[in-house]
């Protein structure tokens, strides 16, 4: 299933506009300075959190799937739906994914005080990394759809790997926040671009769905 890593990376890239708008501000604000290495450290923290989440979800769900008959295929179908929902969200046609974001809210409420505490001390490199890790747990529809994809991978390592790739996909948008020429930012946030990417995601979701249904021999 290793050839499925591409969509994970792609999701990160496609969601760049979303990342910029949601978190571009924090990236700039939290690091305070625009020193490149600090931004990288902060983002590495974030991606580490993604990878951890990927490992956890892939291990638990993957384990479950191995027990249940057709478990993996069912997961695949679920993931396909999430992908379609993500496409609709990107293209701003339907915001159902927001309900998924709600799932992450309780988690975040628990982590939030930590973030505030970290902020009070001196800015150190490990501190930045930790802050980045906390940031990784912000409720985010984009991350959840990537996680649903990672859940398919079946094992903790591959789940982590998928999420790592996803994180790398978002890397250029977030790290390059300050350096990117504005024209690139404009493109990423442009309505047309987001709709195109949304359309692609929907297509990919449908394709995944068809493959899964074929494997179930429904089709």
């Amino acid at each position: 299933m290793m050839h499925d890593w591409l969509p994970a990376l792609f999701m990160g890239l496609a969601g760049a506009g979303h990342c910029l708008m949601m978190c571009g501000g924090i990236a700039a604000a939290v690091t305070g300075t625009t020193r490149p290495w600090q931004v990288v450290v902060y983002n590495l923290g974030r991606i580490t959190s993604y990878a951890i989440a990927g490992a956890i979800i892939a291990a638990t769900l993957g384990g479950l799937a191995n027990v249940a008959p057709h478990g993996l295929i069912v997961l695949r179908i679920l993931a396909a739906f999430v992908l379609v929902a993500f496409g609709l969200y990107l293209g701003q046609w339907w915001f159902g994914l927001r309900h998924l974001e709600r799932l992450g809210l309780p988690w975040w409420r628990k982590l939030q005080p930590w973030a505030a505490r970290l902020r009070q001390g001196q800015v150190t490199t490990p501190g930045l990394f930790l802050a980045g890790m906390l940031w990784g747990w912000l409720p985010c529809g984009l991350v959840y759809s990537a996680l649903s994809w990672a859940a398919l991978s079946g094992s903790a390592t591959s789940g982590a790997f998928y999420m790592l790739l996803f994180g790398l996909g978002t890397f250029p948008a977030m790290v390059g926040f300050g350096w990117f020429s504005r024209s690139v930012q404009q493109l990423l946030q442009a309505h047309g671009f987001r709709q195109l990417m949304g359309g692609l995601m929907i297509l990919y979701g449908l394709w995944t769905l068809i493959i899964a249904l074929k494997q179930l021999q429904v089709l």
Binding site: M21, M22, C23, G25, I26, A28, A29, V30, Q92, F95, R98, E101, R102, G104, L105, W108, Q112, A115, A116, R119, L138, P139, C140, G141, R182, S183, Q185, Q186, L187, Q189, A190, H191, G192, F193, L196, G199, L203, L206, W207, I210, I211, K214, L219
Partner: protein, 812 residues
């Protein structure tokens, strides 16, 4: 945290500035203020920002339009510098209503979506009256109220959209043209070389030219192709990517979107296959597609530049320096931009007149071919206007400047040409919207093809979908109209025919009825003595009559008098000339053969009948009579001549099945005489302007009609006709409102104009028909999987090249 946070536009999320969901979204409290957010994510982020005392982020962030181009402080200063009145003189025009207009050249305009975006945005700026974007020449024409908006504000508004705009200066255009051509030539070169290499390898691989092809060798070949294709994609294909991005920003995807998509995905998939060493590679399709598309764009650019260059060349011919005559009589060289109204300039033989001016010398012979396309020498008399751009042919002349720079007739001709190019005929607009719609359909169709093929043959699905994408790209459709329209306008301008509106290209060929005015249209409009009948007299011969008429008429200001002031070289003395208004002139002269002075009258029939109540004129058309108290000496007929090329032109029009109807304010019998000579069947004389209007309106119920007449006097009738045509005596250009202006003073320009528009319409229709047949026809074939990517690339490219070559026929 007491200061309130800055507000954001209504209905957008306070955090991410995206539109709020329809149910209103969620709220979050920031600095004791409840603000709306769009989702839980934004809510959480905003809360975190508030908790961590990072609210300054909201205070200083940029909430403006995300498409805005950031302007550097020095650029902003430059923009305000353009508000300077003196500087603006050089590139803005004023009209009698106090409106100001300017032509801006715009950087970064790539497609019609850009044009739409700019028109919408600038149209909303207060004080702006008119915005016309010409995507062909990358220029924007703006008319605005200077009290309400500053020029710098307009330029700033353009920058907000992401376009850098500066006043158009013809001098820079040639350089700009060169730059654009080099831009394409370099990319074409890279694409061409890459394509040849990759094709060679591809042919070798396909047809087994290399007989003992080991897998190792194959992979090596793939890698070579990969390396050769990379610069083609990342360098040569840049223009398509840029255009696709722009169109996506404007929310109106153009055909470069599927092109970009096809190029990147073909390249990506082939690169993946090369690295993994399995599957198929289609590098040759990438290079070929890029190359042929670039060839198409390059030709389009050349055609476009040719059309625009004609106009800008004429501006370039204006000298930069003028010879100003100082009050002391000395000459001084000044830059043309410094010339003021009322300055006196000297123009040497063989040089170009720098500004419009009234002739101070007695006569001048000038060549106005830049303005009218007509290379005949034109004689100008004292006080007549000599136009900037015409070439002085004989002795040195002096002019008093009456208009400079943007106010000259030449500048207004160029503006008219630009204007015509910026307005698209309906057929062209239709083709364009069709191409736009096609793009989104194609994207959907390829997606659909992909899904269907997943069932049939999953391994092929990607390539079939790609072929659909490439083969159905509506490049031909989007090239069909603009190339034909620019070609036609170019050709018309070259023959001295100006269109105010490119829509005429479409309306003119449909015209079946043409109304013509007589005086100044069928005829030259220059009054001359046509007939002279002298009554026998023992002493006074014809020469004597001519001499006395000429002498008396030189005192008159009646319009007919001008035609009678140059009848003979002989001169006589007349005294006590008095004008009797409504009748004529009376003077005292000494007839030959006597010594006594006696009175003489030159004037209307009524005037001479006061002396000779029984007199009956011999000539039916005579208007002017000459009499002494004893006898009537002569009767004269003053009229204008039929243009030498009128009969042939009328005959040609009638042969094409067009009904020619004459409308005139002249006497019915005079009108009929002219009509008979020209074989015009329908003649209406004695018409007041309102009667003319009624005739035209009545005829319009049968179909579109054209009216050709004097732009100054027939204004309302011309406005009523579907197509109005007028002879532009170039100097009156600004005052004429006709759709078509014939600058060459020849009646045959009418058939010429009709021929060109007919050809243009034919070519336009052929182009659109062909593009549609190809694009629709290829869909099922491509979806059925019969078209491989490289065949698709060839098919698409050939279809656009055919359209281009067809349009280029207009340039011959």
């Amino acid at each position: 945290m007491s200061a309130p946070l800055p507000a954001v536009p209504a209905n957008v999320c306070y955090h991410c500035l995206q539109p709020l969901p329809e149910d209103g979204g969620y709220t979050v409290v920031l600095a004791e203020q409840e603000v709306p957010v769009c989702c839980y994510g934004c809510q959480a982020v905003a809360e975190t920002i508030a908790q961590q005392n990072l609210l300054h982020f909201y205070r200083y962030r940029d909430t403006s339009n995300p498409l805005q181009v950031p302007l550097l402080p020095e650029e902003l200063q430059q923009l305000t510098a353009y508000d300077d009145e003196q500087l603006q003189q050089q590139f803005t025009r004023h009209d009698e209503h106090g409106l100001r207009s300017i032509n801006l050249s715009v950087e970064g305009m790539t497609c019609s979506a850009c044009a739409w975006l700019i028109e919408q945005h600038l149209g909303r700026v207060a004080g702006v009256r008119k915005v016309q974007v010409n995507a062909t020449t990358e220029r924007v024409y703006i008319q605005w109220q200077p009290e309400q908006a500053k020029l710098s504000e307009l330029l700033h508004a353009m920058a907000e959209l992401g376009y850098r705009a500066l006043p158009f200066q013809a001098a820079n255009q040639e350089q700009e043209f060169k730059r654009r051509r080099r831009y394409f030539v370099k990319r074409l070169g890279v694409a061409g070389i890459g394509m040849m290499q990759v094709m060679m390898i591809a042919v070798g691989l396909y047809f087994g030219v290399v007989s003992d092809l080991t897998p190792d060798l194959q992979q090596f070949m793939w890698w070579v192709s990969f390396l050769m294709t990379t610069p083609v994609l990342f360098y040569s294909a840049q223009p398509f990517f840029a255009s696709a991005i722009r169109s996506l920003q404007a929310g109106r995807p153009n055909m470069d979107v599927p092109v970009t998509f096809a190029l990147i995905s073909t390249y990506g998939a082939s690169a993946y296959a090369t690295i993994m060493n399995r599957g198929e590679v289609y590098f040759e399709s990438v290079t070929m597609f890029t190359f042929f598309l670039l060839v198409g764009r390059y030709f389009e650019l050349l055609a476009r530049q040719k059309a625009v260059a004609a106009a800008s060349n004429s501006i370039k011919l204006l000298p930069a320096v003028a010879q100003r005559v100082l009050p002391s009589g000395e000459l001084e060289s000044v830059s043309v931009s410094q010339l003021q109204l009322g300055d006196i300039v000297q123009v040497l033989p063989g040089t170009t007149v720098p500004a419009d001016g009234a002739l101070l010398s007695d006569t001048a012979h000038v060549n106005e071919s830049i303005l009218t396309g007509e290379s005949r020498l034109i004689q100008k008399r004292q006080q007549e206007t000599v136009l900037a751009g015409s070439v002085n042919q004989q002795q040195p002349i002096r002019l008093r400047v009456t208009a400079t720079q943007q106010e000259t007739v030449l500048a207004s001709i160029i503006e008219l040409q630009d204007l015509a190019l910026s307005r698209k005929p309906k057929l062209a607009l239709m083709a364009e919207t069709m191409a736009d719609k096609f793009v989104s359909r194609i994207l959907m169709l390829s997606g659909l093809t992909f899904l269907i093929w997943t069932f049939i043959e999953p391994n092929e699905a990607f390539w079939v979908a790609l072929s659909v994408l490439v083969a159905t790209c509506p490049c031909a459709l989007s090239l069909a109209a603009p190339t034909a329209v620019t070609g036609a306008i170019h050709k018309l301008n070259k023959s001295g025919i100006l269109l105010r509106n490119a829509d005429m290209l479409q309306v003119l060929p449909d015209i079946k009825t043409i109304f013509v005015d007589k005086t100044g249209t069928l005829t030259t409009g220059e009054f001359k003595l046509q007939q002279l009948h002298c009554y026998a007299h023992e002493h006074i011969d014809e020469q004597a009559v001519r001499a006395v008429v000429q002498a008396i008429e030189s005192y008159s200001e009646h319009p007919l008098a001008a035609a009678l002031t140059q009848l003979t070289k002989k001169s006589v003395n007349v005294t006590e000339v008095q004008t009797v208004i409504g009748y004529g002139l009376q003077a005292v002269w000494t007839p030959p053969g006597t010594a006594d002075a006696e009175p003489i009258r030159v004037g209307s029939l009524r005037f001479v009948r006061e002396w000779h109540p029984q007199f009956q004129p011999q000539l039916t058309a005579a208007q002017v009579f000459v009499a002494t108290p004893e006898t009537v000496l002569a009767e004269l007929h003053v009229g204008d001549r039929i243009r030498p090329d009128t009969p042939a032109t009328i005959a040609a029009l009638q042969a094409q099945g067009i009904e020619v109807i004459m409308l005139t304010g002249d006497r019915q019998d005079l009108a009929e005489q002219v009509a008979q000579e020209l074989a015009i069947q329908q003649v209406y004389g004695d018409l007041l302007p309102a009667d003319k209007l009624a005739k035209v309106t009545a005829a319009q119920e049968q179909g579109p009609v054209a009216m050709i007449g004097d732009g100054l006097n027939d204004g309302p009738v011309l406005a009523q006709a579907d197509v109005s045509i007028t002879f532009g005596h170039a100097a009156d250009l600004a005052r004429t409102a006709a759709d078509v202006i014939l600058l060459r003073n020849e009646f045959s320009a009418l058939t010429h104009c009709r021929d060109i528009t007919l050809t243009a319409q034919q070519i336009l229709k052929q182009n659109i028909r062909w593009a549609l047949i190809y694009n629709v026809g290829i869909i099922p074939v491509a979806m059925a999987g019969f078209v491989t990517p490289y065949i698709a690339a060839i098919g698409m490219s050939l279809s656009s090249l055919i359209v281009l070559l067809n349009s280029l026929r207009l340039y011959r």
